[in-house]
């Protein structure tokens, strides 16, 4: 699988980011907020860690992150301190409850939610420095298709879109897929359907989206972008409870259906993306 070309927008001037050496970089994004993107990132990281992988979750939702909330972390040092030169990068990479590493943006990052060339360079430097030390870097991006999101996604070789079966979430996921396909020339993207009502929902949704993409979205290659169904996470009260307790689902309710689904996702990612 070849890494996707970096986008021409938002960054016609930046040097091709490509995939830095080392870790496989996977962006986790969604068209719409509140679909469980950060929940998926954190629990997937924990599941991958249990498979012996060195995992870093990078809070790429500059300024509007809630990875700290999901993981109940109050780090003294964040990406903001690294960007402002107050701290070394190593101090900002901390260990999360699931045994993986996280790099949090910090609330001071609000000023960086406007993507300037300096922020881009600094962000690239951080990833390039960290990539050799990990097997997987999960970029927990912001929702929507802001230039910060497009930029961080452009650094990833694989993109996972998280959506729920609601019409609004699907419409926004479709819009995001369309932009990523046409702008970043992505040949394929992967879909995780969260809060699936029943088995088979995710596959049905994927094929429904694929049909619309076939009809309306053509890439430069002339072929439609391929949407690959990575897996479903069933609607499960255990998720809500874990989120309210600010605990990883894999730790709080390891036997729950959603937890098992996350473990399956991790298996599939390890088998298809990391081997």
């Amino acid at each position: 699988m070849s890494p996707a070309s970096p986008s021409s927008i938002p960054s016609p001037t930046v040097a091709p980011a490509g995939a830095p050496k080392g870790a496989r970089i996977i962006a986790i994004t969604s068209g719409k907020g509140g679909v469980g993107k950060t929940f998926v990132s954190a629990n997937l990281a924990a599941a991958l860690t249990r498979r012996g992988l060195r995992v870093l979750v990078l809070d790429a939702d500059l300024g509007l992150a809630n990875l700290d909330v999901v993981l109940n972390l109050y780090p003294k040092t964040t990406l903001h301190d690294v960007f402002t030169g107050k701290s070394a990068l190593d101090e900002a990479v901390i260990e999360a409850p699931g045994g993986f590493s996280v790099l949090l943006a910090g609330s001071g990052m609000v000023e960086y939610s406007r993507l300037t060339p300096e922020v881009r360079t600094q962000f690239l430097n951080v990833i390039q420095t960290l990539a050799p030390r990990f097997d997987v870097i999960l970029l927990d991006t912001g929702a929507g298709i802001s230039d910060v999101v497009l930029f961080s996604v452009s650094l990833a070789s694989e993109v996972i879109i998280v959506a729920t079966p609601e019409p609004t979430s699907l419409t926004d996921a479709y819009a995001a897929i369309k932009v990523l396909a046409t702008q970043q020339k992505r040949q394929h993207l992967r879909l995780v359907v969260n809060q699936a009502a029943r088995a088979g929902d995710g596959r049905a949704i994927t094929s429904q989206l694929q049909q619309v993409l076939n009809r309306f979205v053509t890439t430069d290659s002339g072929r439609p972008v391929r949407l690959l169904h990575l897996g479903d996470i069933p609607a499960d009260n255990a998720v809500r409870e874990a989120v309210m307790r600010r605990q990883l689902l894999l730790q709080g309710a390891p036997g729950s259906p959603a937890s098992l689904a996350v473990a399956q996702l991790a298996n599939k990612i390890q088998a298809t993306l990391l081997s």
Binding site: I9, T116, P117, S146, P165, T171, A175, S207, Q208, R215
Partner: protein, 254 residues
């Protein structure tokens, strides 16, 4: 607290207004008549000074400062409203040759004439500014992607079709190159990035031979009614909203 305090009386004779009045007068606007009450007099003077600080003296267009302020505001507006907005950067082709061959007075005439032509091409809601040197910029709010190229092309043609009289009996043909980029909808970008993108297109227009328009293809993040119709066709009908979806869209199946 402040609203209950009575306004302080101002005696115009206590103020040193000569420089301000001279500046306003220089700019060609009439100074408020001296017999006026202090408040309207000062308001008039302040208005003229504001005008002066926002306009380019040579062409009378918005200056760089004004342009930046409008650009900032437009970015916020687009991010909030999701409306389309187009930024055009325009540059007079081979302007240095005009200056070198015909002198700076002729150069100024060209700038003024092009500015007048451009001013006739834009809508009242657009902001036309002299960006610097022989470069102009136009911020066009509510400009749909489908029309941007047509509008820019019309502007380019208007300039190409209006020769400039630089001396009695001497006319000069002038052309401009135009680069354009849309603000990203629902997205907060930055003025620097947006200008960079339009500038890059201007560079492409220049490199492709000048007197032409290049507009960045817009990332299409809008989902049309037709696409939505197909997204929610009853191919997929999960238990929770399937019945409703099927009802609403059963007539749309191709």
């Amino acid at each position: 607290m402040a609203s209950t305090t009575p306004p302080l009386p101002v005696d115009l004779r206590d103020l040193r207004l000569e420089t301000a009045c001279a500046l306003a007068g220089q700019a060609g606007s009439a100074i408020p008549p001296p017999g006026m009450a202090p408040a309207p007099f000062l308001q008039g003077l302040i208005d003229r000074l504001c005008d002066l600080s926002l306009k380019d003296p040579l062409t009378g267009l918005a200056n760089r400062r004004h342009f930046q302020a409008v650009l900032d505001a437009e970015i916020d507006r687009v991010a909030r409203s999701g409306e389309a907005a187009l930024l055009l950067m325009l540059d007079i082709d081979h302007f240095k040759q005009v200056n070198d061959t015909h002198g700076h007075v002729a150069g100024d005439r060209v700038l003024q004439s092009v500015a007048r032509t451009l001013a006739q091409c834009v809508r009242p809601m657009d902001t036309l500014a002299r960006y610097g040197g022989e470069e102009f910029a136009i911020i066009m709010p509510a400009c749909q992607a489908a029309f941007g190229k047509t509008v820019a092309e019309r502007i380019r043609r208007a300039v190409a079709e209006a020769p400039v009289q630089i001396a009695p009996g001497t006319w000069l043909e002038v052309s401009i190159s135009i680069g354009g980029a849309y603000a990203m909808q629902w997205i907060r970008s930055s003025p620097v990035l947006w200008t960079d993108r339009a500038d890059h297109q201007l560079y492409l227009a220049k490199a492709a031979g000048r007197n032409r328009v290049c507009i960045e293809p817009q990332p299409d993040s809008t989902v049309s009614a037709e696409e939505k119709g197909m997204l929610f066709e009853p191919l997929y009908t999960p238990s929770d909203w399937g019945a409703l979806g099927a009802m609403n869209h059963s007539g749309n199946a191709p």
